[in-house]
């Protein structure tokens, strides 16, 4: 017989415990947060549409997604004079009767009678509806794995600081919440049953308590086989090829020199190459040398300064009102920073210190914390402003403590300032500033002397490396048109990168190059992944980066490209909305007036070339960075014989599908 005094005293209270003694097992010790709350979460009781709504339902209010276990315990165990529970006859408890649908319940029947969740509720009530099991039996870890056709969630319980070996592991699949990142690949039922559907990769996620765990599943498009050709020497390509091999996808062939040059120039300086630059690259297609050459130009600073402005959410050039001047200053400062060759961490530090960007213009400390989270850490913590994050680890208390780091300095009474304070809007108490718990070790919060510097140090710390991962993903997104993590400001366990290996390779390169933009761009642009041929249509190859997906040039890049190709800047910019943009291209003055005014490279081409054929080749090389195909020569050469027709031809190229996209 093996029982403790505690278990003995419990055993005196009910038959359940007596039964456990007879079976020579210690009676189960219940914990509301780990045993009951997950049932409420899984059955949707604490969702926004049910008792988790702002006003609850039918007089019964739970915290949204079970974010406040103490409040939920109070609502169940003490409200209505404790009438929701009947400790002497658990099955007659209002909570159980409603959940079984035996009493009128707007949410209908939520629990099957006799199921694990039902039995757990009964046992918890019979055990006296305890709040906590004890400090030594708290939830410490969560793991999800796939066994056969089922996802299994296992939770580890133990005292604080207990390693895996000291934790008691329990299968919590019956009460954990399961989801999948892509139900078209594998769907997962509430009970963890997997439904394998299409090919691809997805992550199965389990949530239990405030912990989340994921596991990756791959269903190849074809039998996995190593791709042909020599092993990749580029670190990014090694990860890329391994990813594609696993998925059974073949990487697309490398594009020829001319389209590669077009990509490079559009990405680096926001315009196509001139025919001379095209020839030079064709003679010596050295990507690294081209990056080095272009990174020293003013147009590189303008293009990448604008990218950084978008990254740090600086309003665009068309902003109105008081914010316009500040936005213009910030945009100019970012262009200058790129022109000077400042590293990305140096630029980010300026943002963190409020020297550039929006940090100083947001009046609410919580807005500042969320801005820093999005732009510098690549993390959306905004949900946790109101409730614990439903698909990430962030708790409301952590959001509040992190926001306190950004509280405005206040007068110290002696003519100076002192660190600002933030008060919990609900409790009214002063909140101690604390960093987000991204990595163990290191300072937990800022000091009193130079809080901004301490916060900047935390944001850019290599201990968690969140900035480096965020920066690499953003740069990748600027170049490839999509991030490895999408949305780019939503790095979290439940939203893993498309290819974790590629992101790791980028982060390594980022650190090797001290976070310098040209070095990182050289690493990305010299990869075979960057030079992959374009997709002919949407499909898995484009989704998994086996080839390049075509993307539209943004309006400002389009205007820059037109100006470079025609030799004169258009008088008007394209409007933002899609239909208005196509109407403007079709009927507006942007292209028509620009070409009709004369004095353009189009007219120069017409005048300087001797034959219609030569004109056609030169126009195509200038606008599309390639020679015309035979069918195009056949169709369009007659229009190169007369000036106005030649201008119309130039218009057709500039407003056509190919020029408007980066392929």
């Amino acid at each position: 017989m093996n029982f403790t005094l505690a278990s003995f005293s419990v055993s005196c209270l009910g038959l359940c415990a007596v039964a456990s003694l007879i079976q020579d097992e210690p009676p189960r010790r219940f914990d509301f947060a780990c045993d009951v709350l997950p049932i409420l979460q899984r059955q949707g009781c604490s969702s926004a549409y049910c008792h988790g709504s702002a006003t609850g339902r039918a007089g019964f209010k739970l915290s949204l997604f079970g974010s406040d276990a103490a409040a939920d315990y109070a609502a169940i165990a003490t409200q209505l004079g404790g009438r929701r529970l009947d400790l002497r006859a658990p099955d007659r408890s209002l909570l159980v009767q409603k959940a079984l649908g035996h009493l009128d319940h707007g949410g209908g029947r939520r629990l099957p009678k006799g199921g694990v969740a039902h039995e757990t509720l009964l046992a918890w009530i019979a055990a006296g509806a305890p709040w906590r099991a004890g400090e030594a039996e708290q939830l410490r870890s969560l793991r999800v794995s796939v066994r056969g056709e089922r996802a299994v969630a296992e939770a580890g319980f133990g005292p604080a600081g207990a390693g895996d070996e000291r934790q008691q592991v329990r299968d919590v699949s019956d009460v954990a919440l399961f989801s999948t990142s892509d139900p078209t690949v594998v769907d997962v039922g509430a009970d963890g049953q997997l439904d394998r559907r299409g090919a691809g990769q997805c992550w199965v996620m389990a949530r239990f308590g405030n912990l989340t765990a994921v596991t990756r599943l791959v269903r190849p498009f074809a039998s996995p086989a190593p791709s042909a050709g020599p092993a990749a020497s580029h670190a990014l390509d090694r990860a890329w090829r391994a990813h594609l091999d696993e998925l059974g996808l073949q990487p697309a062939d490398r594009v020829a020199a001319a389209p590669l040059a077009r990509r490079l120039y559009l990405d680096l300086v926001g315009r196509p190459p001139t025919p001379q630059e095209l020839d030079a690259f064709g003679a010596a297609p050295d990507v690294a040398a081209t990056v080095l050459l272009l990174a020293g130009r003013r147009e590189f600073a303008e293009v990448w300064g604008a990218h950084l402005a978008d990254w740090f959410e600086v309003p665009d050039a068309g902003a109105k009102g008081p914010a316009a001047a500040a936005a213009a200053r910030d945009r100019a400062a970012l262009v200058q920073a790129v022109a000077r060759g400042d590293s990305l961490p140096a630029i980010a530090r300026a943002v963190a210190l409020g020297e550039v960007g929006l940090l100083e213009r947001l009046s609410d400390a919580r807005d500042r914390a969320e801005y820093a989270g999005r732009t510098l850490l690549g993390k959306r913590i905004g949900c946790a402003r109101c409730h614990d994050h439903p698909s990430d680890r962030w708790r409301r208390s952590e959001h509040l403590a992190f926001s306190a780091c950004f509280a405005s300095p206040r007068p110290d009474g002696a003519g100076g300032t002192m660190a600002g304070a933030l008060f919990d809007p609900e409790a009214g108490e002063r909140v101690e500033p604390r960093f987000l718990p991204l990595a163990p070790g290191g300072p937990e919060g800022p000091g009193e002397n130079d809080r901004r510097r301490d916060v900047a140090d935390f944001l850019l710390s290599r201990a968690h490396d969140a900035f480096a991962r965020n920066a690499c993903n953003r740069i990748f997104a600027f170049v490839f048109g999509r991030g490895l993590v999408e949305p780019v400001d939503d790095h979290r366990l439940g939203n893993p990168p498309l290819d974790p290996g590629m992101l790791d390779a980028l982060v390594d390169a980022f650190h090797r190059g001290d976070g310098r933009l040209p070095a990182l761009l050289t690493f990305v642009l010299t990869s075979a992944a960057y030079a992959a041929a374009p997709a002919q249509q949407e499909g898995p190859a484009a989704t998994h980066l086996a080839c390049r997906a075509s993307r539209a040039l943004p309006p400002d890049t389009f205007g820059r490209a037109v100006a470079a190709v025609v030799g004169r800047a258009p008088a008007v910019q394209l409007p933002g909305s899609a239909l208005a943009r196509e109407l403007a291209l079709r009927n507006g003055p942007m292209l028509h007036d620009l070409l009709a005014a004369g004095g353009t490279t189009v007219d120069a081409t017409f005048d300087l070339c001797d034959t219609p054929g030569e004109r056609l080749v030169e126009l195509w090389r200038t606008v599309l960075s390639r020679a015309p195909r035979a069918d195009e020569v056949l169709r369009f050469e007659p229009f190169a014989a007369e000036r106005s027709a030649f201008r119309d031809l130039a218009y057709a190229l500039l407003s056509g599908r190919e020029f408007a996209h980066e392929r």
């Binding site: 374009p534 993307r551 909305s577 208005a580 195909r629």
Partner: protein, 411 residues
């Protein structure tokens, strides 16, 4: 309206690329919405919820008149007062968002503003399953921030006509094809054809909009719906030769042509100072312009037999402080505001009231989500419609399962 709520987003994604029949001028089908947005927050106390018995610093100096059903409206709205018996006036709309952006998000989407999600306006959801030449959602002249697609794809956003419809030379920008440009367009089409078709979603979306632009440019009948010059001069005068009046007239033309949602944006209602001057004696006086524009719109819809199918909603982000401030203005006041509804089966009458000083609802408090649900119901949209964000998160169109204001809906 037949929206499959489960496949809504999938349908949207396919929308721009679906083959459409453009050969004929569209016939208007189903219900339409004209949302007249008085940007900045119009004063309920100086428009539709006057308090003639309150002290001068509450009631203001603009005067009021009885309009039946216990309502007092501004003396500067005589035409609307005569037509109030055809409208539903919600006088007790209330919420807690006193910031322009947050209030706009709440009124235009029915959802409280979120730190992580911008919800779509009704026009981005409603009527995109049609096959007309005209775009389903048009903003005159521009949409405000939260009258756009929100988390839905950009294709759901409004076509913004730009310009000022009140100007004599107003014309929707870039709508008319240059007769001399036919060859250029033929060459562009030939070049695109030799290119071998769109590669991926971005190019397909571009092709779809090129098609829309082409059809709109080449269809004089469709283009004509944007032409205010086609209206008789006396009718234009009845609407008022100002921005709001001509915008409302253009809205009537567009819903007649098949546009499902028209957002009419009238800025300049944020009167923190000298509200009496701005509303009563400006250039044009804001109330006179509103009176002319809206009353002419109601009459015109009836004359075109459209009042049973076109829902007109007049709203803004909040009301204004009951007590005049020292600058003679009124500040932001979300705890009480008025919303006016007309047509599309809306049952006329006054719903709710505010207390003697117009500070709080005295009876029948109405949340913005309930106003939104009322529009949804009146337009025949499934109130249980669930949208999906780009990352697959399900979001109900109607927040908090709000009930519509049943008093104004016909059974």
């Amino acid at each position: 309206m037949n929206l499959d709520r489960r496949s809504f987003l999938g349908g949207l994604a396919a929308l721009p690329f679906a083959a459409r029949s453009w050969a004929h001028a569209p016939l208007r089908r189903g219900r339409s919405l004209i949302l007249v947005w008085l940007d900045g927050g119009f004063s309920h106390l100086d428009t539709f919820d006057c308090k003639p018995e309150a002290s001068p610093e509450i009631r203001g100096d603009l005067g009021s008149m009885p309009a039946g059903d216990g309502a007092f409206v501004s003396a500067h709205l005589p035409l609307l007062a005569q037509r109030l018996d055809r409208c539903a006036l919600l006088r007790s709309v209330t919420h807690g968002e006193g910031n322009h952006d947050r209030g706009s998000h709440l009124l235009l989407t029915g959802h409280r503003p979120s730190h992580v999600l911008v919800h779509p306006a009704l026009g981005a959801v409603f009527g995109h399953d049609g096959d007309g030449v005209l775009p389903p959602y048009v903003a005159i002249p521009q949409a405000v921030d939260y009258a756009r697609a929100g988390f839905l794809p950009g294709v759901c956003g409004p076509f913004e006509v730009g310009g000022d419809p009140g100007r004599p030379d107003f014309a929707v920008r870039d709508l008319t094809a240059d007769a001399g440009g036919a060859r250029a367009q033929q060459l562009r089409a030939a070049l695109d054809a030799l290119d071998g078709g769109p590669r991926g979603a971005a190019e397909a979306q571009r092709d779809a909009f090129v098609g829309m632009a082409t059809r709109l440019s080449e269809d004089p009948a469709a283009r004509r719906w944007f032409d205010l010059g086609a209206e008789p001069a006396d009718l234009r005068a009845r609407y008022g030769r100002h921005r709001l009046g001509q915008s409302c007239l253009l809205a009537r033309r567009l819903v007649q042509g098949g546009v499902r949602t028209v957002f009419v944006n009238d800025p300049g209602w944020d009167h923190h100072q000298q509200i009496k001057t701005a509303l009563g004696y400006g250039f044009p006086p804001k109330l006179q312009a509103l009176d002319e524009a809206l009353s002419a719109l109601f009459d015109d819809l009836r004359a075109h037999e459209l009042d049973d199918s076109v829902l007109v909603c007049l709203a803004s982000e909040f009301g204004r402080t009951p007590r005049l401030n020292p600058l003679g203005g009124r500040d932001h006041w979300p705890r009480a505001q008025s919303v006016l509804l007309h047509g599309a089966g809306i049952r006329p009458g006054v719903v709710g009231s505010t207390d003697a000083r117009g500070e709080e609802p005295a009876e029948r408090p109405i949340a913005p989500a309930e106003v939104f649900a009322t529009l949804v119901q009146a337009l025949g949209i499934d109130r249980d419609l669930v949208l999906r964000t780009a990352d697959g998160r399900p979001v109900r169109l109607v927040a908090d399962e709000a009930e519509p204001v049943h008093e104004v809906l016909r059974a």
